[in-house]
């Protein structure tokens, strides 16, 4: 990289902040053109940032919220005149698979790490590729530094790391040479960096003439490609780069910032123990000892209560009981949030507990598209069409679309129960009448129908109509067929079935919302993230590039691949539901009452993980050598990121923090208290209070009751206080 550290380093330490995003919120103003770009890689962080500004009733046109990839894309577009294309993960995996089938040259080193069958190890290979990109940006100086770090670890870990480095580097070269598109967002950042450097910053000036500041927020990892771009911008343009970092990873990132920008300048490295809320520069004089334990306590400004339950399910019931107690006492559902390190593990237990209390939750996870009725209808229909082409139509395959409400395109609106071509009772009788013998072809099924006298005439007619529809669909579908076959089915579903689902739904309309979101994700009418269009694009692309067969089977596989990889939006449009958030998503949010679940060692903090051997990860993370300090540390490699999440969740509370944990699983295996709680010294709910809370009266402990503000909307008022104009 061309950046040289001068007396004004491209990123100055006084522009590095730990847990101080409020300062950035204060920068939100009204402006004809943005003066700041706020770079937040995660969509939810951008959302929360906007929300914080909205809660403060501030204008925000001075700030443009972007992802690093979008900014890079804009710069590349400006530089090259056309919008760059970037491989998505699915395409990348596909390309990697092709390369490693018969690994060329040094890619074969990967066989020393993963064994002979590399195509079975795609996910691990891709993880290593991405990690090496974060660490080194595939820049030769950093790759050498990584090599030096590897050389100092114990024998077998060293061999594994070196072979991974060699194999992955070579793989990356092959990916670059075999694809016209950018391999990943990281290579796009790299291209943008080159353009900035080659144009001496003009390209930036041309594209973002009014922008004075570039603010990075919400990251636990500052990967090398992003850092290189930021440094290039800091060096070549007038823009100043500000980093708003998180509680535990922040100090570490600050600590090695300059050694990463220029590994010869270690001596100016910042310290690592800046307290939350202060610029890191304030602590530059402090020692450079590794962080042992971040001060989580500083994040907790409210009373804290710990609830200890026996099992996870019981913990979820205790958490709901606490929420119910608060609601009974007049607290608004908008003022309570459940947070966990990984809410996937709590979604079902919390939902069950909520049902028992008559409450609905708004769990901010992505919609599991493949588990929705509209998706199942599309998938079942494509399976049927695939089976029809193979003359392998089983009873299960034939009847499944009907069970999922397949309807002919011109069906009228239904009321009450979602309408069906055949009612469940008719379907059941018909299926038993036709028998479970797999007829094989549609004609054979038609024959079976003809020879089965017991079938009611009306049922017979409708079923024949269905068979006819199946017959009329193309055997070797073109990309265009994907929309022409499925869109009418989805439209009928929307117009006819969805109102039926709404009719039978509860007052919270959760099921309707789920089906509606799925429909939108599958067959929304705009380009972009809509499944059928994405499948069409990928089907077309793969047919051109990878010679995949034109078949419904291929389409079915693509539906699954894309439906699973990019499940769908997270919005739950019901203000009466209680929010349930991943801890990382609580970043910058504020709720009076936070109920943080799963404070169990191993669950929060989770066990660190990574693609490289532990010894190498540790050596890089500890940064004991100049070479190690010139590399990025992936967030998932250490527990610091877990502390980030905890601080985010804990400081979200403005009135009372309730932390909960379980002590054993249903198999009787015991679990330990999380070290996150060691600093915050919560008061543990005693046995008696615990049972009264979970008992029939849901008695809220006094300690928590005393935290309830007098006014229901105190939350909003509190938030606005510091920003009121």
């Amino acid at each position: 990289m061309s950046t040289q550290l001068t007396s004004n380093p491209p990123i100055q330490l006084e522009n590095v902040y730990i847990c101080a995003e409020d300062e950035l919120v204060e920068r939100a103003e009204r402006a004809p053109q943005p003066t700041d770009i706020v770079l937040a890689p995660e969509q939810f962080h951008r959302r929360n940032f906007k929300r914080a500004i909205a809660e403060a009733n501030r204008p925000r046109s001075s700030l443009a919220l972007q992802t690093p990839a979008t900014v890079a894309q804009e710069l590349v577009r400006a530089g090259q005149g056309t919008a760059p294309t970037v491989l998505d993960r699915t395409d990348r995996l596909r390309l990697i698979e092709e390369i490693v089938e018969e690994p060329p040259g040094e890619v074969a080193h990967l066989q020393r790490v993963f064994g002979a069958s590399l195509p079975t190890q795609l996910a691990r290979i891709e993880a290593a590729r991405e990690e090496l990109s974060l660490l080194t940006g595939y820049q030769s100086a950093r790759l050498s530094a990584f090599e030096r770090v590897c050389a100092n670890v114990d024998s077998v870990a060293r061999l594994d790391a070196q072979d991974l480095r060699t194999g992955i580097t070579s793989l990356q070269e092959h990916l670059r040479s075999q694809s016209d598109a950018y391999v990943s967002p990281a290579t796009l950042l790299e291209a943008a960096q080159t353009l900035v450097e080659e144009s001496n910053g003009d390209i930036w000036q041309e594209r973002y003439p009014t922008v004075e500041r570039l603010n990075v927020v919400g990251v636990s990892t500052l990967g090398t490609p992003l850092l290189a771009l930021l440094a290039a911008l800091g060096e070549e343009t007038a823009v100043t780069v500000h980093l708003y970092l998180r509680a535990a990873t922040g100090p570490r990132i600050a600590n090695r910032l300059h050694s990463r920008i220029d590994s010869t300048m270690n001596s100016t490295a910042a310290s690592n123990d800046s307290p939350p809320g202060s610029p890191a520069s304030a602590a530059t004089q402090a020692s450079s000892a590794a962080i042992s334990r971040p001060q989580v306590a500083d994040a907790v400004t409210t009373p804290a209560t710990e609830i200890v339950a026996e099992t996870r399910a019981e913990e979820a019931r205790a958490a709901l009981a606490a929420a119910e107690g608060l609601l009974d006492a007049g607290v608004s559902v908008s003022d309570i949030v459940f947070a966990a390190r990984d809410i996937d593990r709590y979604e079902r237990p919390l939902t069950r507990a909520a049902t028992a209390y008559g409450r609905q939750l708004s769990v901010w996870t992505q919609l599991e598209l493949t588990r929705t009725l509209p998706y199942q209808l599309v998938a079942a229909t494509s399976s049927l069409l695939a089976a029809r082409s193979d003359d392998a139509v089983t009873a299960e395959t034939l009847f499944r679309p009907l069970e999922c409400h397949w309807l002919p395109p011109d069906t009228q609106d239904g009321h009450g129960q979602p309408p069906a071509l055949l009612t469940p009772a008719e379907l059941s009788t018909l299926r038993r009448a036709l028998g479970e013998e797999d007829a094989g072809t549609l004609d054979a099924w038609r024959d079976t129908l003809a020879t089965t006298a017991s079938v009611d005439a009306s049922v017979r007619t409708r079923f024949e109509e269905y068979l006819t529809w199946c017959d009329q669909q193309p055997h070797d579908p073109t990309p265009a067929d994907i929309l022409s076959v499925f869109t009418p089915i989805m439209e009928t579903f929307e117009e006819t079935v969805l109102p039926g689902i709404e009719q039978r739904d509860t007052a919270a309309y959760a099921e309707t919302s789920r089906a509606a979101r799925a429909l939108q994700r599958i067959a929304g009418d705009a380009e972009g993230e809509h499944l059928l269009r994405e499948v069409r694009a990928k089907y077309r692309g793969w047919q051109n590039r990878h010679q995949v067969a034109a078949s419904w089977e291929t389409i079915r596989e693509l539906l699954d691949t894309i439906g699973t990889a990019r499940p769908g939006r997270r919005e739950h449009d019901n203000a009466e539901c209680i929010d349930v958030l991943d801890a990382t998503d609580t970043w910058l949010r504020s709720y009076p009452f936070v109920i943080a679940l799963g404070c169990v060692d191993g669950e929060w903090p989770q066990q660190p993980h990574g693609a490289f051997p532990v010894a190498v990860r540790t050596a890089v993370a500890q940064g004991d050598s100049p070479a190690a300090r010139s590399l990025a540390v992936r967030g998932a490699w250490t527990e610091q990121r877990e502390y980030d999440h905890a601080v985010d969740a804990f400081r979200t509370a403005t009135r009372h923090l309730i932390v909960t944990r379980y002590t054993e699983d249903v198999e009787g295996v015991s679990y330990q208290r999380s070290p996150l709680l060691a600093d915050i010294a919560p008061t543990t709910l005693d046995d008696d209070a615990y049972h009264r809370l979970l008992g029939p009266a849901t008695t809220l402990p006094d300690r928590i009751r005393h935290s309830i503000p007098p006014s229901k909307t105190a939350h909003l008022e509190e938030m606005r206080e510091p920003h009121a104009q």
Binding site: S334, Y357, T512, C577, V666, T698
Partner: protein, 1174 residues
């Protein structure tokens, strides 16, 4: 923090000292119950970390591996090591030999989290397998230990083998020889051959036998049983009888034969036939097993699933011998990679600590061996006397070899230390003395399996390293460290048995009442007080589950709260009912399925309801019409209504994952509130539902079971509840009495332990009952049942049911202190017996303060060799003369007291009523609260506000779909203007806004706007490129004309344009976001105003531009007014309180029209407030 971490003493300290003196070697600790084995291992593990850390090792945890067997034991290792580190840090008096700071302790504790090698041996092997699965032909890492998936897969493999004509003859022969069970009312019948093959497959693998070796084992048994081949004459046969039994049995047999004229008696021919058919069956069995095993392996690879045992087998196979010989190895697999993996894990096992090492199987041993080198430091701790898993492939003799000869993991260890630990920190001296007295005899008695699998050395306690010797099996006394008490610690609840056979339900009926009285008395009168002063809970141990319910009812009747901690989840009616409902839901409209559901045993519906179903011909839709109850009532009628609702929701179940379907069943039927009276204890009910849902979620993972798949899986567990979880016991402390099986209690302890229902004959379930026998190093297939097995009856008929056993198979008949049978079978029976006695040892040694034994005053002369109660009574000098009170029983094999005090029925029998449950019942165990959540939109913007506030029901669906009303453009036809074709009106609206606002933002001149000269064409071009759809050239041209000829000139004349030119502040497409409170809810709004300006007087103005080519209808007009007024209202929130905002709506299109607007009818705040009424 150091509480509960005692410093190492005696042998514990010796092991530690020696261990750290060496860098490599084998250290074997054989120790007694309560020795502190785990404490020792944990402290050594902790010190290993400390030492490596001090030596500068960056990742000390990466060189340490600590494993145990059960999940519970394994889960306590890591906390144990952490507690030891804390204790080292907190130690200020040099109690511990390690001195570290708390900071170091904290750091090492976090380092420990980086390790995957602290846990079960299975988890260690699983992580190794992950590296080699693909080499073995798996498509990545398979799922491990999913018994439901494995059971289904095995069934399919068996079906494939049965369908293959190549094996038809062999299968038919085996089906004849070992006929399947007939289906009965309660079972669908069992594929017995499949059970035999599956057992053979796993046992063969656990022993790592090739098919040839396996076959040799089976044939060796035939040779053992027919030492001289098939008999030619009766004399040959009688020789065998005499050899296996004794002369008197032989003469009895001889006397019973009637020899026809000149030929052999039929028994000889039958015995010959048995021999030949047996050999033929072995042929057939091995052929079919080979096919089955191959099908199994292929299916495991196809479906990506293996068992834990498979993993050990595969690892051992992969690292053993040439790669080319490993079945299924992939093309290209290399020795270099194998060496790499071996080195990886050898590095991670530099310090290898194994707890419960006596339980290691051969496959596990061989799977670990590749990673142990002469550079490794191995510490194995175990207790052969507590080995109760030989039936599950534990090979304690290997542990003995390690202890005595220093051979293990295929290495003759140069550094080898063995230790015997006799101290017990657990039990009171009287309990220790009683155990010594009992087992001093038992473990040295060959008739009770003494000497089999045992250590052959008798050593003084705590003597440190010992050398191996060939001495005869002995018994080492326990060395208790606790002080004694004057009150008895050994208690006998004596009972008078009936004439029934011991071990039967009838016998136990006589036992349960005195035992119940005794426990109730002991709990209330202080007899069971324990040293810790906690409320005592009595743990009652059973060797089997059959009579648990009888005693539970007895105790409950006496007012005690009782819980069975060894009950199985899938044995409970509640769970069985849920499983039945799932099965029904596969096709709920099929009347026969509905009938099967409502008449199932686990439901027991009232006669009225059954009549209702019958009258409706079991059609659920017809039943639903008749029901008065509604879903949600926790009553039987509510359950039926819930079933009807579930049936109607079949469509949803098709797409929902299995776990959600089962959740819905539980919710709809209100099963947590026990409407069918299936589980009275609400906490247990909740726990049962939790456990079932947990299981399904674990099995299902990210997959999606169809209802049929889920039903099949669940029915598999209902048929084999032992494959599923235990029914969890929440809050064990609240119960007076907890029941557990002895196996379940292993590794645990309690203050008061009672052994109940111990009267049965030890050999009742012995090897003689097995068809495929696998115990220790013996594998055998029983002789075919289709030929006579020559039962040897007691000719006296004194006991009509007594048989000596079949001549050519295992028996339970004791002769002269040995069990009759061929040498191998006799030894197997002894090994079986030995394990039964070790089981008793485990049971008795769980007690800390009080040991309660339930013994009969007389025992109908049951032999001590065959009966626990007889042995216990004899050892404790308890007999029919013993009277209530206490007596001194003399003790043996123990160095300390001469006698212990034994209490016999020494409690006052109260009209007991337990403490009662003081805790309020959980609310979730009641019927659920009615729905308390309605719907209020969370996100509203200026365009959606009108409809959501005015017609929420109508607007809801499209709002949930994310569709916002498009009110930027009105009309698609114009009287005067030619509108652009080929672009949707809403897109055109967006585009025009984009062009006009950009023109303002870029400060375009009025002339340029009017004449549509640059930069306007460029702005249009940019705006077009930002549309998410491609616009063809002809459409572009028509849009350009439309703009240049109509819209732009109109706009140039508008007040908006004038205003923009004069404004002091000017923002276009300005975000207007806020969060508003509606009732007590917060609602978020995000908007973009077309233009915000401030004029020279400081007045804020919002301009909203609309395109209209037809008359704007009143409703749309109101909508647009509200939108504009709303923007003004939001802007006002952002401004100081004294500032107001003018809001203006401008129409372009047919003509230019600008009006100042306010919200229609009522204020914006009132419109917003209406949202709360949605």
């Amino acid at each position: 923090m150091s509480e509960g971490v005692p410093p190492l003493k005696g042998t514990q300290a010796d092991v530690r000292a020696d261990y750290f003196q060496q860098t490599a070697g084998l250290f074997v600790l054989d120790c007694k119950p309560g020795f502190g084995k785990s404490t020792t291992l944990n402290q050594i593990a902790a010190e290993t970390l400390v030492r490596a850390d001090a030596a500068g090792v960056t990742c000390p945890e990466q060189q340490l591996c600590v494993v145990s067997f059960s999940q519970e034991d394994a889960a306590s290792i890591e906390p144990g090591i952490k507690a030891a580190l804390d204790a080292f840090a907190a130690d200020t008096t040099n109690t511990f030999p390690v001195d570290i700071s708390q900071e170091t302790a904290d750091r090492l504790k976090r380092r420990l989290q980086m390790s995957d090698r602290i846990g079960t041996i299975d988890s260690l092997l699983r992580s190794i397998f992950e590296d080699i699965a693909a080499e073995l032909g798996f498509d990545g890492m398979p799922s491990v230990g999913d018994s439901s998936q494995l059971a289904r897969l095995q069934k399919r493999c068996m079906a494939a083998v049965r369908d293959d004509p190549e094996y038809a003859a062999a299968v038919a022969r085996l089906d004849t020889a070992y006929p399947p069970e007939e289906p009965s009312e309660s079972t669908t019948g069992n594929d017995r051959l499949h059970s035999l093959l599956e057992k053979a497959r796993t046992k063969k693998r656990d022993r790592r036998l090739s098919m040839d070796d396996f076959e040799s084992e089976l044939r060796a048994m035939v040779a053992d049983v027919y030492p001289d081949g098939p008999p030619d004459t009766l004399a040959d046969l009688l020789d065998d009888v005499e050899q296996f039994y004794d002369a008197s049995v032989a003469s009895d047999v001889a006397a019973a034969q009637s020899t026809p004229g000149d030929g052999q008696p039929p028994v000889v021919t039958e015995d010959q036939e048995c021999y030949h058919e047996w050999q033929a069956c072995i042929d057939a069995f091995c052929t079919v097993l080979d096919a089955y095993e191959q099908a199994y392996d292929a299916a495991c690879r196809d479906h990506g699933v293996v068992s834990h045992a498979d993993i050990a087998y595969w690892i051992a196979a992969y690292f053993d011998g040439p790669l080319a010989d490993v079945s299924g190895i992939v093309e290209g697999a290399s020795d270099a990679y194998r060496t790499r993996v071996q080195r990886r894990y050898a590095a991670k096992c530099q310090s290898l600590l194994i707890d419960e090492a006596q339980d290691i199987s051969i496959a596990q041993h061989d799977a670990l061996a590749p990673f142990v080198t002469t550079e490794t430091r191995v510490l194995m701790a175990g207790d052969v006397d507590q080995c109760i898993y030989v039936w599950r492939n534990a090979r304690p003799e290997r542990f003995v070899t390690a202890f005595e000869d220093g051979r293990y993991f295929g290495i003759e260890w140069a550094v080898h230390h063995a230790y015997s630990g006799s101290r017990t920190y657990r039990m009171r001296p009287a309990i220790a003395a009683a155990i010594d007295t009992i087992f001093g005899d038992v473990f040295t008695d060959p008739a009770r399996g003494g000497g089999i699998d045992g250590l052959s050395t008798e050593t003084p306690p705590d003597s440190g390293p010992i050398s191996a010797s060939g001495a005869a099996a002995g018994y080492t006394a326990l060395e208790p460290t606790r002080s004694g008490t004057t009150e008895p610690a050994i208690h006998i609840a004596g009972y008078r048995p009936t004439m029934a056979s011991p071990g039967t339900e009838e016998w136990f009926t006589a036992e349960k009442t005195p035992l119940g009285n005794y426990l109730a008395g002991g709990l209330t009168d202080g007899t069971f007080d324990i040293e810790s002063g906690d409320d005592e809970t009595v743990t009652v141990l059973f060797s089997h589950r059959s009579n648990m319910d009888l005693l539970a009812n007895q105790l409950t009747g006496q007012g005690l709260s009782v819980v069975n901690a060894s009950a199985r989840l899938f044995d409970t009616d509640l769970v069985r009912f849920i499983c039945r409902v799932v099965e029904w839901l596969v096709d709920p409209y099929a009347p026969e399925r509905t009938e099967a559901l409502v008449t199932a045993e686990c439901v027991s519906l009232s006669a009225d309801h059954l009549d209702l179903f019958e009258a409706a011909q079991y059609r659920i839709d017809a039943v639903a019409e008749q029901l008065e109850a509604t879903t949600g009532a926790a009553t039987e009628a509510g359950v039926l209504a819930g079933l009807a609702t579930l049936a109607q929701r079949h469509d949803q179940h098709v797409s929902d994952p299995g776990v959600v379907v089962v959740e819905e069943i539980i919710d709809q039927l209100e099963l947590r509130a026990d409407p069918l009276g299936q589980v009275a204890d609400p906490e247990r009910r909740l726990a049962a539902c939790d456990a079932l849902l947990y299981s399904i979620a674990e099995w299902e993972g990210d997959d999606h079971y169809t209802l049929a798949e889920l039903a099949e899986i669940l029915s598999g567990y209902v048929a084999e509840p032992k494959d599923g979880l235990m029914l969890p016991v929440p809050n064990t402390d609240k119960y007076d009495v907890v029941f557990r099986t002895i196996h379940n209690m292993k590794g645990d302890e309690d203050g008061v332990v009672c052994l109940a229902d111990a009267s049965g004959s030890l050999n009742y379930h012995g090897p003689q009952k097995e068809t495929f026998l696998a115990l220790g190093d013996t594998l055998a297939l029983a002789p075919p049942e289709s030929v006579s097995r020559i039962p040897l009856r007691d000719p006296d008929q004194t006991h009509i049911n007594t048989e000596y056993g079949p001549l050519r198979w295992a028996s339970d008949y004791q002769i002269d202190g040995r069990i009759a049978g061929s040498p191998t079978l006799s030894r197997v029976s002894h090994r079986y017996c030995a394990e039964q006695w070790r089981l008793l040892y485990v049971a008795l040694s769980r007690a800390r303060d009080h040991l309660v034994l339930s013994l009969p005053f007389e025992n109908h002369a049951a032999p001590v060799e065959n009966s626990w109660v007889a042995t216990l009574a004899a050892a404790l000098s308890f007999d029919e003369q013993s009277s209530p009170g206490s007596y001194e029983a003399s003790v043996t094999h123990t160095p300390r007291p001469d006698a212990v005090t034994v209490g016999v029925n020494d409690v006052s029998f109260p009209d007991a009523s337990g403490d009662g449950d003081q805790q309020p019942p959980p609310r979730c165990g009641n019927p659920s609260a009615g729905a308390q959540t309605g719907w209020t939109p969370r996100y509203v913007n200026g365009t959606s506000l009108y409809q959501l506030a005015k017609e929420p029901a109508k607007a809801r669906l499209s709002h949930l779909m994310g569709q916002r009303p498009d009110i930027e453009y009105v009309g698609i036809k114009s009287a005067d203007i030619e509108l652009p074709a080929g672009v949707a009106p809403e897109r055109l609206g967006t585009l025009i806004h984009q062009v006009l606002t950009t023109a303002i933002a870029r400060d375009v001149s009025t002339t340029a706007l009017t004449t549509f000269i640059e930069p306007l064409p460029s702005i249009l071009s940019e705006s077009l490129s930002q549309l998410p759809v491609h616009i063809p050239p002809e459409t572009r041209a028509s849009i350009r004309s439309y703009l240049s000829e109509h819209i732009c000139p109109q706009f140039a004349t508008s007040e908006v344009w004038q205003q923009a030119q004069q404004a002091t502040t000017r923002c276009v497409e300005e975000p207007l976001d806020t969060v508003v409170a509606v009732d007590d809810l917060t609602i978020e709004t995000q908007n973009r105003a077309d233009l915000i300006t401030v004029d020279e007087t400081g007045q804020w103005i919002i301009d909203e531009i609309k395109l209209a080519h037809t008359r704007v209808d009143p409703a749309t007009k109101k909508q647009q007014r509200l939108q504009t007024a709303f923007y003004g209202w939001v802007l006002e929130q952002q401004l100081p309180a004294d500032r107001t905002v003018t809001t203006r709506l401008t129409y372009l299109g047919e003509s230019v029209e600008s009006v100042e607007v306010s919200a229609p009818i009522v204020s914006v705040s009132e419109w917003v407030a209406t949202l709360g009424e949605s």
